[in-house]
Assembly symmetry: C4
Homo-oligomer: 248 residues x 4
């Protein structure tokens, strides 16, 4: 129990103490997210101040407890309190704790923002979160050649269509297509089918080129998507078999 | 016949009476949908008044008939008229009937709207509708772990990209990216490829980050989609085998 | 040869005469499409007049030739010139021929437009075009139950999200969400990921509901797409096996 | 070594010289892309001048070296320096080299743009890039019949929906739907789910038609995408087996 066990969170055998900490991490993340919204912090400044204080106390108590019980656990990470304190995860926890303290208004805006955002790092302590990301990393690694090739193809198409629209629309619409990087913004939005619509070709020839691009290109840019989905399903099936047939 | 048999609607053996009721439910739902449009209700107020009256009478007659014949059916739900009347489905039908009555103009707008929308609940009495939703629920339940993991991954990516754009664009474009929840609106629209275009990064650095986000992220957010489609096909195949090889 | 053989166009054994007619049909369709553009017809009115006259003469000559040689072909459709003339396809050809004649300017605009568009019907005489559509119809028919169920689920979700946004945004944004049909326009654009952006929720609560809708709903609305693609691939494989292993 | 070996770039056994050239080609492509952006060339004109000079010298030295050592390599392409110089790839390299020279400001804008863009052609010398595109071409060729049929179906749907919206919206919205080609721009944006939003139907009937189009059509237009992804995966698996089980 010297640390939140990486396998503990999703299992039924999780202790009540760890469940409370898991929940507190999720809530503190939510708080960190909505605290960036000025409308809320202006209207209820006290609420956020008190909530942050509560989380600061809770997580401090948790860390103190973990440091105190470190010698009594047979974990391989820490044999003594001092060693436990020096470990990377504990130092990270300490750093995150600092960000819960009321921040001076005199700090530059970007620093305040970075410190607030830093709290969200605690999410990485949640097992389920970590296991999910590991599965994705495995899936990407297993098919990295196939993904790489389809990514190169997608990039080539992106470059080709950007150049095409740059040459066709560049003169009549210099603000949006006056350079290849500018045309790329349109190209990415179109070929991924996001289609913001902030940038569209205006000349008839540009529209014809864009229409053909959209019809032909979408299938090619969607290829990594299909490969990734298949790879993830495979990696999941493999992980399920390894961990035993607990779920059908 | 004491109630619309849950298996009755799609089969060929459906009685003419039940067919009429099924059609009436569909038509009354359509009426409830288009009645919310002020342009139509202002131009043809009489039409909606009479149509609602017709449906009120039809569904009242249906309910009265069902109550009357309740003792003569060997259904397990109701042995007497009183017991049938007390059952949950009958009470729901009665509630829905009330919403077909001409509504007082003095009620608050939201109450009128809720009452009108409530009529659509009757759709749940249609078998085909119910069976379809059950199939979807089965599909989701069967793959809930896989869906859950891919949903966590999608959420993480959503959070990461929102934070990225919040830090990069937050200062220059505070209206759209001035907080993580605001950046999330952009992030959801982009990673699901909806791309409304009401919110787009304006700074070059923001556009570069957004472009990379779109190219890498879409495959990851599309993963639950692929898993769900496969799960639904599986659940459908299984249901078809269980109900016998009636269709090829 | 009394009619363009339904299996003829894509095969290598197609006669030069039929090849010319196939090409002429494609070109006349292209002409019919671009002739609707007022910028082109205003600038080069003579070009379209002469092109239409050429096609009128070519297709008249073709039809006359077909009528003349009808008795000499052993087709089951026509034994005599009169019978061939009375057949449905010949009458359709005659009707299409009429639309190539110079249209009076006094006709109502919609009638002129319908007559012009009617020329495109000739495309249906092309074999490759017909065979492709037949394959799609077969694919849809084979999986009509599965497609139907996933379509009902998609419709339910569409209705649910429209009602949700109508209740949440209807008061603050009556122009775009003031009725269920209006909200449905947004709902279709969002759940199909088209995302025009002409209609977006403005209130924070509306945006939260829309964001959750987008994240959850897209997978469900995309289900028919996946089923259709699989059904089409199956139908194609089956058709290839039946027509013999001519292509690998 | 007389030329960058087509199989060399991605392998570990690539010589340091070739690695430097590969990197230089990627960097010069990046330079050619960002050099089209007027904001950058106006602010740092000297940077681009010097970078282009450096690439000119590097690639000239490379080409001179290749010409010098041509007789000492046992390549089948060149036995003598003169023959190597006359080969297509060498001439292409020479042409690309010319585009790195400072361009006269007196040339027409389009010519300058074409010359700059021409530098990107050097990317085709990279093996990994070529192998990826070959795999895609193989995949397309293998399934060309299936892709062709689904493309014809997609085109038919595109034409049908364009005609529908042209007839319905053409009169009330002539700027966007006043001809079939104009309606096609909307149709492509909608059926590929790009959805720019620059063109949307405004009349209720137009919106109903567009909504039905979006719901039914997207699955059909997405079919080539699915076929292409499957074909690419197949072609990749086959290529992997042929090149030996080096990667799992």
């Amino acid at each position: 129990m010297q640390q939140i066990d990486p396998q503990a969170c999703p299992t039924q055998g999780l202790s009540t103490f760890n469940k409370v900490i898991c929940l507190a991490i999720l809530l503190s993340t939510l708080l960190a997210i909505i605290e960036t919204e000025p409308v809320l912090t202006t209207n209820w400044p006290q609420l956020f101040w008190w909530a942050n204080l509560a989380f600061l106390l809770l997580f401090s108590a948790e860390l103190a407890l973990r440091i105190y019980i470190a010698p009594y656990t047979q974990a391989h990470l820490a044999q003594s309190r001092w060693r436990f304190l020096r470990s990377g995860w504990t130092l990270l926890d300490l750093l995150v704790l600092l960000t819960f303290m009321p921040l001076s208004e005199k700090l530059p805006l970007l620093v305040i923002r970075l410190l607030r955002v830093f709290r969200i790092v605690r999410l990485s302590r949640l097992t389920r979160f970590n296991a999910s990301l590991n599965l994705l990393i495995q899936a990407v690694r297993k098919r990295k050649m196939e993904l790489g090739i389809s990514f190169i193809i997608a990039m080539s198409l992106l470059l080709t269509t950007s150049i095409l629209l740059y040459l066709v629309e560049g003169s009549s619409n210099p603000e949006d297509f006056g350079s290849i990087p500018r045309a790329m913004w349109w190209s990415i939005a179109t070929l991924t089918t996001v289609g913001y619509g902030d940038v569209t070709p205006l000349s008839p020839l540009g529209k014809i080129c864009a229409g053909i691009t959209a019809l032909i290109g979408i299938g090619i840019v969607a290829m990594p998507t299909g490969i990734l989905a298949a790879a993830f399903s495979e990696a999941y099936q493999k992980a399920k078999v390894q961990s035993g047939p607990t779920e059908q």
